[in-house]
């Protein structure tokens, strides 16, 4: 009897493919969004089976939480959007054929891939500014990528703001339900607590700024949706500074280390861990506020 572990992986992989197909062939937009939320759940399980807990955390935060809210939030407007004509049968056959060719090419490449020389990691990790290998790569070896990634996130918010013509503060329509308000009052401390916990663990175990920021964003969106908090417009007052804090902090650290040691993002000996934590703190604030801004952008008074 084949071992349950392999059976689990096999079943998980097949259900991913089947669900992907069903999501594309969904009859209504809502069904596509819901199927995609379940797809995110199965993806999180796949990351678990691939020994990638960090990615599972991120996928859980994004798949189960944010993407669902963003998609469902945009659903009402999306259903009213006028769409160009559906592509003709020949175009669809072409797409299908090229999809098949792409799969064969990829499968051949993956199966015949030679084992490659391992990265010189063992001797570099002890010198890194963080114990956990993934955090060490994200915030020490390849910190430059993370800096630009936070720039992409801030840019997405700026781009969403640049679309809005009306200056009235965005106001997502609340779901007035007393039960929800009491749950949010309960969830809020837990969310902040677990965000801090995930952030702290990031240094030496799976976790980190992105997962913590996403949990805080979810708490913020719940606050907005349950009308517990007067809607705040992130474009006014100190909010833009808070939103940009992660990016500006990262640039400041880069320029600081550039001035100090002549190489950007080369942490001084001993000071690495503290700087990494500082950067993670800044990233968490930026990620949380960015997702809240992205959720409530385009919801000005006239919208709902």
């Amino acid at each position: 009897m084949i071992s349950p572990v392999l059976l689990f992986d096999l079943l998980l992989g097949l259900s991913l493919l089947w669900l992907a197909w069903r999501t594309l062939a969904a009859h209504t937009l809502f069904e596509a969004c819901v199927s995609f939320i379940v797809f995110g759940l199965l993806m999180a399980l796949s990351w678990v089976r691939l020994d990638a807990p960090d990615v599972a955390l991120a996928e859980a935060a994004v798949g189960a939480g944010l993407t669902g809210v963003l998609l469902l939030g945009a659903l009402e407007r999306a259903e009213r959007a006028r769409v160009e004509a559906a592509p003709g049968p020949w175009w669809r056959r072409g797409a299908g054929l090229s999809a098949l060719l792409l799969f064969l090419l990829l499968a051949a490449a993956l199966i015949t891939l030679p084992p490659r020389p391992p990265l010189p990691l063992q001797e570099a990790l002890p010198l890194a500014a963080a114990e956990h290998p993934v955090t060490a790569v994200l915030l020490d070896f390849r910190a430059w990528d993370t800096l630009l990634e936070s720039a992409v996130l801030v840019l997405a918010v700026v781009a969403a703001w640049s679309l809005e013509r009306s200056v009235s503060p965005p106001r997502p329509a609340p779901v007035c339900s007393e039960v929800l308000r009491s749950l949010v009052r309960l969830l809020l401390p837990f969310s902040i607590l677990s965000a801090g916990y995930l952030l702290w663990r990031g240094g030496h175990a799976p976790g980190g700024a992105f997962q913590a920021g996403t949990v805080l964003a979810a708490a913020g969106i719940l606050l907005l949706l349950s009308d517990l908090r007067r809607p705040f417009d992130l474009r006014r007052g100190y909010w833009p500074l808070a939103l940009l804090s992660g990016l500006l902090l990262f640039i400041a650290v880069a320029l600081g280390t550039l001035g100090y040691g002549g190489t950007a993002l080369d942490y001084p000996p001993g000071g690495g861990a503290a700087l990494v934590l500082l950067l993670e703190l800044g990233l968490t604030v930026t990620i949380a506020l960015a997702f809240i801004a992205l959720f409530s952008s385009g919801r000005s008074r006239g919208d709902e």
Binding site: V175, L180, L183
Partner: protein, 98 residues
């Protein structure tokens, strides 16, 4: 097979049973409100038993506490979801029949 493991296995079996019952309820029950009822069973009882068995298996209080916390959160979320969906369904019924 110590007593604790035996107890854990039985709790595990119980948990699975309620999960399966919850899913069957979701598929078979004709009316939406019944489905909500079935769903919350899987939440609190199913997951509760499952967490209990895993807490026993893990044998550490820290893990047991974390499992308890997760279970409570899921139950709270499940109850709220049940209420929200029922209210929205009720509102839906007064308006256009779906």
């Amino acid at each position: 097979m110590s007593v604790a493991t035996l107890l854990a296995l039985s709790l595990l079996a119980g948990g699975l049973f309620f999960f399966i019952a919850g899913t069957l309820g979701l598929l078979r029950f004709p009316d939406q409100l019944c489905r909500i009822h079935a769903l919350t069973k899987a939440d609190n009882v199913g997951l509760g038993l499952l967490s209990g068995s895993l807490a026993l298996l893990s044998g550490s209080w820290a893990v047991a506490l974390k499992l308890l916390l997760i279970w409570l959160l899921v139950m709270a979320a499940g109850a709220t979801v049940a209420q929200l969906v029922a209210a929205s369904h009720q509102a839906g019924r007064e308006g256009d029949r779906d």
